[in-house]
């Protein structure tokens, strides 16, 4: 049941996601054509976008517990959990938010986050380590097509729990007891209303609303084994997902013991504007499709399960923060029986509708973002379920799918680093049958992709390795239903790296130089493209490159350097040979380039990435061809 548990708390506040934006364009990875203007604040990829100086820090800001529930009731007001803040680390650096790849920017992950519950006196009552997680189900929540309008969800777990003095909170004692078997908590939060105005105090901040509950044994970390409502995109939309029924993908869990259904609408209801209240979609009625046709309802009628009044979710401006969008519907025995194996649906005013697939089946990889080195074995668990229960004994197909990736090069449109090739480097099984636990395994020992994304037909250093997409789907047609296009497994497979010995600066220079180009924040410490400065800062660099990727201090902050390259750098820093002088050609001046006129492309961030997806490019290409 994860965070959708009778024992759970909700919290609300802000987040900081101070990502850097120079690396948002694959063309900026070409050292040979990089220009200093690409590091400057400014619109479009011929400049450094909206935050070139970002340091990747991710913080929880001013988050407070807004409500807590235990066994169907709100916890008493004197429970200290209600005075708690939800904070991040207080004695180490902040977490980092990083993209997987410039050509897969739609699964940004949080690394190195520590989450704390802090009482009114500043005392830490709980400290836990957040397992790195990527966002999912990004969509256009508010009107508009820029990142300001977007919303996405992060679901993960907190481990290594350290509990403080819980004498003032029966709720937290109960949460501790429930989480004890696994030593793990489930945490989910929704992020929206991102601010991109550099003059605002909220620059690079947004709204964050979430929930924490126990994570029980055998529960996956990043998804719910539950009921999944499937939305459909507006036809022809090439921007953030815009559900035709106005409600985004959302999960629910039925608790037969507590006789209720938990519906998480936290990332599903639109708002009237960024950071605004939820939009009035009319009273939302939850029902289950009666599979038995009757003379009066030949296609099956809806058995009502409950309703959420518009006056509650849209009329009460505190509702979203107080509940994180989680709605609890009490079910009687008849409703429980009806809902057990028939599709749920939620409807509201005119045109407002979302429902489960007719089959009730759904699947997703728990951990859908992977960074891999050649020779590495990977086993990825794909959880299949039907009517909220693990679905054993069914065949799951795996297919390479690059449609959601975002190959692009605006600097030189004739030199776009291709994605998804060579496919031979990811020899995955084309299908797998789910076990008793409903899990199908996608397994492979990955090979070496070579350097397919070097620029100039392989002559110029470029983007390391290759990025791939693999989509899982049910083999049986009767289990198939609506497809969530953003829902696939993303793999960054690094190139092998066996430099000629002795290793010198000449070999490593392109790596350091690219890093210096893409992350102007490093100029506050050193010029990473300068041999003397790198050597002078060797101790600091050894520290940063030697840390585990989940350490918030690890370099590169982007986590996009292969272990092989990091090891080579570490070895070289011990004896930093310079080698022969490097001949550097002067890049052309920047005035030749001007930002493209396309507003959508110029917005930057996820909005631009969305518009670059291969599936959109192919659609646009096809449309352009049609008239002729």
């Amino acid at each position: 049941m994860s965070y959708l548990n009778p024992v759970r708390l909700h919290f609300s506040g802000k987040f900081l996601a101070n990502v850097s934006t120079v690396n948002n364009d694959p063309g900026h990875f070409n050292n040979a054509t990089f220009q200093s203007s690409f590091q400057k604040l400014g619109q479009g990829m011929t400049n450094g976008w909206f935050n070139p100086q970002g340091d990747a820090s991710f913080r929880l800001l001013g988050c407070r517990v807004t409500s807590a529930w235990a066994d169907g009731a709100v916890v008493p007001e004197d429970d200290t959990v209600l005075a708690c803040g939800v904070a991040d680390a207080d004695s180490r650096v902040s977490a980092k938010l990083v993209d997987l790849d410039p050509e897969q920017q739609l699964v940004s992950q949080i690394w190195g986050l520590q989450v704390r519950l802090v009482d009114g006196n500043g005392t830490t009552l709980l400290r836990g380590s957040y397992t790195p997680a990527a966002f999912c189900d990004i969509w256009s929540r508010a009107a508009g097509s820029s990142d300001i309008a977007a919303c996405a969800a992060y679901q993960s777990v907190l481990t290594d729990l350290e509990w403080g003095d819980l004498s003032g909170s029966a709720f937290l004692r109960q949460l501790r007891t429930l989480s004890a078997p696994n030593g793990t908590l489930s945490i989910k939060f929704n992020v929206d209303a991102f601010c991109m105005d550099f003059s605002s105090p909220d620059f690079m901040c947004g709204r964050l609303v979430g929930s924490i509950g126990p994570c029980l044994p055998n529960e996956p970390a990043h998804l719910l084994v539950g009921r999944h409502f499937m939305a459909q995109d507006t036809p022809g939309n090439d921007s953030f997902f815009k559900p035709v029924g106005q409600i985004n993908y959302c999960p629910a869990v039925i608790d037969p013991v507590a006789r209720c259904l938990y519906l998480d609408l936290g990332n599903a209801l639109p708002t009237t504007g960024p950071d605004n209240a939820l939009k009035d979609l009319g009273d939302l009625r939850l029902g289950v499709l009666d599979p038995i046709a009757t003379p009066g309802a030949p296609a099956g009628s809806m058995i009502p399960l409950g309703a959420l009044a518009a006056a509650t979710y849209a009329g009460d401006p505190t509702w979203y923060a107080r509940t994180a969008g989680v709605v609890v519907f009490a079910l009687d025995a008849n409703q429980l029986a009806a809902a057990a194996s028939a599709p749920l649906a939620l409807s509201g005013g005119a045109g407002v509708m979302i429902g489960e697939a007719a089959s009730g089946a759904w699947l997703r990889a728990d951990d859908f973002v992977h960074r891999l080195s050649p020779g590495q074995q990977v086993d990825i668990a794909v959880h299949a379920m039907r009517w909220g229960r693990p679905l054993p004994g069914v065949v799951v197909d795996f297919k390479a799918d690059t449609g959601g990736l975002q190959p692009c090069n605006v600097i030189d449109p004739n030199d776009v680093p291709p994605v998804g090739t060579p496919l031979a480097a990811i020899p995955f099984n084309p299908e797998a049958r789910t076990g008793a636990d409903g899990i199908a395994w996608l397994s492979m020992v990955v090979g070496d992709p070579g350097t397919p994304r070097y620029f100039g037909a392989g002559t110029h250093f470029g983007i390391d390795g290759q990025v791939y997409g693999i989509r899982a789907s049910f083999a049986a047609p009767q289990l198939q239903g609506p497809v969530n296009l953003t829902d696939f497994i993303s793999i960054l497979l690094w190139s092998s790296f066996t430099p000629r010995l002795p290793l010198t600066w000449v070999t490593l220079y392109p790596i350091f130089k690219q890093y210096a180009n893409l992350y102007p924040v490093m100029n506050r410490f050193l010029d990473m493209g300068d041999y003397g400065q790198v050597v002078a800062n060797a101790d600091l660099l050894k520290l940063a490159f030697g840390l585990a990727p989940d350490d918030p201090n690890a370099m590169p902050v982007t986590r996009d350097m292969s272990p092989a390259k990091r090891q080579a750098i570490l070895a070289w820093l011990d004896a930093p040979l310079e080698g022969p002088p490097i001949l550097r050609r002067q890049p052309a001046q920047s005035e030749a380039l001007s930002p493209p006129a396309d507003d959508k492309v110029n917005q930057g961030g996820k909005a631009t990435a969305i518009s670059r997806r291969l599936i959109v490019q192919q659609r646009t290409h096809a449309t352009m061809k049609e008239p002729s």
Binding site: G62, D90, R92, V93, R524, L547
Partner: protein, 353 residues
């Protein structure tokens, strides 16, 4: 020159000092060593490194040694069974104000962008007493007169000698050694404790016979700063005199480009920035990181003397540097320059907006 109020030594009984009294005095020492760091860092990060690289290098080198001094004082305190108290609100002095234990009428320290006037403050902080004072302590301990920092450490050193080796905890306790920090001294007895304190004196003031440090190999802080004022590096110069006099400020020129200083305010405070403003947000965020660093150091110098915890602290130092250099140079909003106030902030920086 800093003169400390004699009350900083009131816990040291000149005849029969006890361990508790020495520990209290060493805690004072840690606070004093820390107190100059924000002052130096504020000036350091106000400088555009591209336009004032030499001055940046000089100030940075002094800051590194002030951190070493904090660690050395903490090593002595730990060796006596005490525990440094760093991660708490009262640890940070208020700026502007006297240094901890300082005589208020003599020297007020401020957070100011770099200028030749601020450099004069640095020189005043680091100015050595007449060399003969290094040799003695009790001779000059006039009951009413303020004391110098050299005298302060010498008094502790004498008290340690009186306590004897038996006062030191065995096995060595919570020591940060040279494997973690260059020039750190593991304190196990009177001799090693006195060696640790001697490094603090020598690096701050120079030895009695030379501007050179015995440990570290550079010039003492006072002479390093004086190079900036004299606009030339200090070099060995046998033509000007024998022995300790064989030095002159006649090396390569050091240029101060006054245009390469960001226009940040003097003595900023978080409360001084308008509530809800970007400057307030950036200042609060910096202070939260600064407080996190003090907590990390509290753990590091309080028993978690591991390489891992040292890395945690270094990570926070780098984060502070990054934040300070950004906010002071007009990032993210060009033209809006924000000075970090180095105040204690235990809660995350958005709760009060």
């Amino acid at each position: 020159m800093i003169r400390l109020n004699r009350r900083v030594l009131e816990q040291l009984d000149p005849q029969a000092p006890d361990v508790a009294g020495v520990c209290t005095t060493l805690q004072y020492a840690i606070e004093l060593e820390h107190a100059t760091i924000p002052v130096y860092l504020y000036a350091l990060y106000s400088l555009d490194v591209a336009r004032n690289p030499q001055i940046v290098e000089i100030i940075e080198s002094v800051v590194f040694e002030e951190m070493l001094h904090m660690t050395l004082a903490a090593n002595v305190l730990n060796a006596l069974g005490g525990t440094p108290a760093i991660g708490q609100p009262g640890f940070i002095p208020a700026y502007p104000g006297p240094l901890p234990g300082g005589v208020e009428s003599e020297l007020t320290v401020s957070l100011r962008p770099f200028s030749m006037e601020q450099l004069a403050l640095f020189l005043a902080i680091e100015q050595p007493e007449n060399p003969h004072i290094y040799h003695s302590c009790s001779d000059d301990l006039d009951a009413d007169k303020p004391i110098t920092i050299g005298q302060f450490y010498t008094a502790i050193s004498v008290a340690l000698g009186q306590l004897g080796d038996a006062a030191f905890v065995r096995p060595p306790r919570h020591q940060v050694g040279p494997e973690l920090m260059t020039n750190a001294v593991v304190v196990t007895d009177v001799a090693s404790a006195q060696k640790a304190l001697a490094i603090i004196i020598d690096q701050g003031e120079g030895t009695s016979t030379s501007p050179l440090e015995v440990t570290g190999g550079g010039y003492a802080h006072y002479y390093r700063f004086m190079q900036i004022q004299k606009q030339h590096y200090l070099v060995y110069d046998p033509h000007v005199g024998p022995g300790e006099k064989a030095y002159s400020y006649s090396g390569l020129p050091i240029e101060f480009d006054a245009g390469g200083v960001y226009p940040v305010p003097s003595d900023p405070s978080a409360a001084g920035y308008p509530a809800g403003s970007q400057q307030r947000v950036l200042c609060d965020r910096f202070n939260y990181s600064y407080t996190a660093l003090l907590r990390a150091l509290d753990a590091f110098l309080g028993g978690d003397n591991t390489g891992r915890q040292m890395d945690v602290a270094i990570g926070l130092m780098m984060s502070l540097k990054s934040q300070a250099k950004a906010m002071m140079s007009g990032i993210p909003d060009p033209g809006r320059f924000t000075g970090p106030s180095f105040e204690y902030r235990g809660s995350d920086p958005a709760g009060e907006r």
